[in-house]
């Protein structure tokens, strides 16, 4: 570790079961603040499951059961005192397929703030502008704020989803293969955006795309069959993997 930075998120002996299926086994991991951490690995290795543990989206899956500990700034996220609503405001998520609501651009961005009870008009306008700017979308949509979000291009829709997330002022941003539905140009756009976001936020990205992980992340986590195989600075993981399996995966021998 570069400095004695306190981890933002920390998983200790994390096990997750979907009924009898052991989806995550004994994962122990620290996520540093203001860095981009990429989680890589073949399909079904548990990388999305791990990501969804951090904002407890797995709670929606019937039969999911968690053992072990996950903390956010030292606070146990599974503690009974932890409010799901508060957790998810602090740990936001962008999904694989852009999922803007069937509302206008404006209503999408302001959805979170409104749900959390912010009503002054000028305050909402501020949030709207700041969030869209933060997602690099302001220039494109400033004149189309009241048009249906579903009319935007798919890349812009994903940016809108990021803007929608920024509007609730999270601390951690979880990106679940955010570019898999996008064209290369939009993908680059999102990667640039991630870089900017990491100045303020802790960013975690699950990706299939090796190049993306290599060029856009600070640290990388390699997972296989629900196990965390290797974790370290991206450069080291990609050039001098300590584990044989990591090397095999990175060099394209499987996955």
């Amino acid at each position: 570790m570069p400095e004695a930075q306190l981890p933002k998120l920390r998983a200790r002996n994390l096990n997750l079961y979907y009924k009898a299926f052991h989806a995550l086994s004994d994962v122990t991991l620290d996520i540093l603040p203001q860095t981009i951490t990429a989680i890589i690995g073949p399909s079904g290795c548990g990388k999305s499951t791990l990501l969804r543990t951090f904002n407890r989206m797995n709670d929606l899956v019937p039969g999911a059961r968690v053992e072990g500990e996950v903390t956010l700034d030292g606070e146990d996220i599974f503690a009974p005192t932890m409010s799901l609503v508060r957790l998810r405001r602090r740990v936001g998520m962008v999904f694989q397929r852009p999922n803007p609501f069937p509302l206008s651009v404006r209503d999408n961005v302001l959805f979170g703030p409104r749900a959390h009870g912010i009503t002054p008009r000028d305050r909402l306008q501020e949030i709207l502008e700041a969030s869209l700017k933060g997602a690099g979308l302001w220039a494109d949509v400033r004149d189309r704020l009241d048009e249906p979000a579903l009319d935007l291009s798919i890349g812009a829709q994903q940016q809108l989803c990021i803007a929608r997330l920024l509007a609730v002022e999270p601390e951690v941003i979880l990106l679940d293969e955010p570019c898999s539905a996008l064209d290369p140009y939009s993908t680059l756009h999102i990667e640039e955006l991630m870089r900017q976001l990491s100045e303020t936020y802790t960013v975690l990205i699950v990706t299939h795309n090796m190049q993306q992980a290599a060029r856009a992340s600070d640290r990388s986590v390699f997972m296989l069959l629900g196990e965390l195989v290797e974790e370290g600075p991206t450069e080291q993981v990609f050039t001098m993997p300590r584990d044989e399996r990591t090397e095999q995966y990175i060099t394209g021998r499987f996955g």
């Binding site: 929606l60 609501f101 509302l103 249906p148």
Partner: protein
């Protein structure tokens, strides 16, 4: 092989056409039978006349029009919110096991013959209304409640389909933003399901306005414009069904004319619905 397929195709086409032709024939028949008396009596007289004494030459169906409208709206006021709430509960809130039991039970509700609803209405509901709210019990209110219950399965199952058709990602997106489950339902899922829910309501309306048997039993069938929910009334359908068996001559024509009016009502309703869905999702 080719000829076989050709044959199947044409047979299906023929079947489809004959179904449509039958409907058309029924409509034409009703119009042919019903329109002459409207012309003779004068449309205004027929639609707005308040005296219905068909064996004595008075044919005014205004009370029945008002009765139908009241009863149908009443049924909707009951079945709409209740059905929607039930659908939301089944889709979003109820544990799987509960939903698996409740769903078939609701389907069962749709299979109960309407005369049973009517009978329960007479024996249970009507006395309740009479004792606690006053009036003769046989009333617009009684008919609305019975119809509301009868329409529930339609409203519930179609709303349910609409809610289930809402992409999961909408709900996930809302939850990931820190919304409560309830906020996700009211702010995303329900608005997204709105077109389907409208269909549910319109189909429910159609069933309510056309239902006859149960209504005859509990609505009182008095030929007068109801002054309130506790007053008896007569609906267009009950007017036809009550008197058709014995009617002859002008009386019979007047009943067919009642059918024409009912037909127009349902057409109007359906085209209103079509108009609403025809439009693209309105941008809020």
């Amino acid at each position: 092989m080719k000829t076989k397929e050709w044959l199947i195709e044409k047979t299906l086409l023929l079947m489809a056409l004959s179904a449509v032709a039958m409907l058309a024939l029924i409509a034409i028949f009703v119009f042919i039978e019903g329109t002459p008396i409207m012309a003779r009596e004068g449309l205004g007289h027929f639609l707005l006349g308040r005296k219905w004494a068909p064996t004595k030459g008075s044919f005014g169906i205004f009370p029945m029009i008002v009765g139908s409208v009241w009863v149908t709206i009443g049924a909707l006021v009951i079945a709409g919110p209740l059905g929607l709430a039930c659908a939301v509960f089944l889709v979003e809130i109820a544990p799987r096991k509960v939903a698996d039991i409740v769903r078939p039970a609701i389907q069962l509700l749709a299979g109960i013959p309407s005369v049973v609803y009517g009978f329960v209405g007479i024996v249970v509901l009507v006395p309740l209304i009479r004792e606690h709210l006053g009036g003769p019990g046989l009333s617009v209110l009684a008919a609305s409640i019975i119809l509301g219950v009868m329409v529930l399965p339609t409203v519930i199952s179609i709303s349910q389909d609409a809610l289930e058709a809402v992409p999961r990602t909408y709900k996930e997106g809302a939850l990931a933003l820190g919304c409560t489950h309830w906020q996700a339902i009211t702010r995303v899922i329900l608005p997204a399901a709105r077109p389907g829910i409208t269909v549910a309501i319109v189909l429910g309306l159609g069933r309510a306005i056309g239902e006859t048997m149960a209504v005859i039993m509990v609505v009182g069938n008095a030929v007068k414009v109801p002054a309130g929910l506790l007053d008896p009334a007569r609906t267009l359908t009950s007017n036809i069904a009550l008197e058709m068996a014995y009617a002859g001559g002008d009386h019979r024509e007047a009943l067919f004319a009642t059918g024409v009016v009912l037909f127009m009502f349902i057409m109007l309703l359906n085209s209103l619905a079509a108009l609403r869905f025809g439009r693209r999702r309105p941008s809020p």
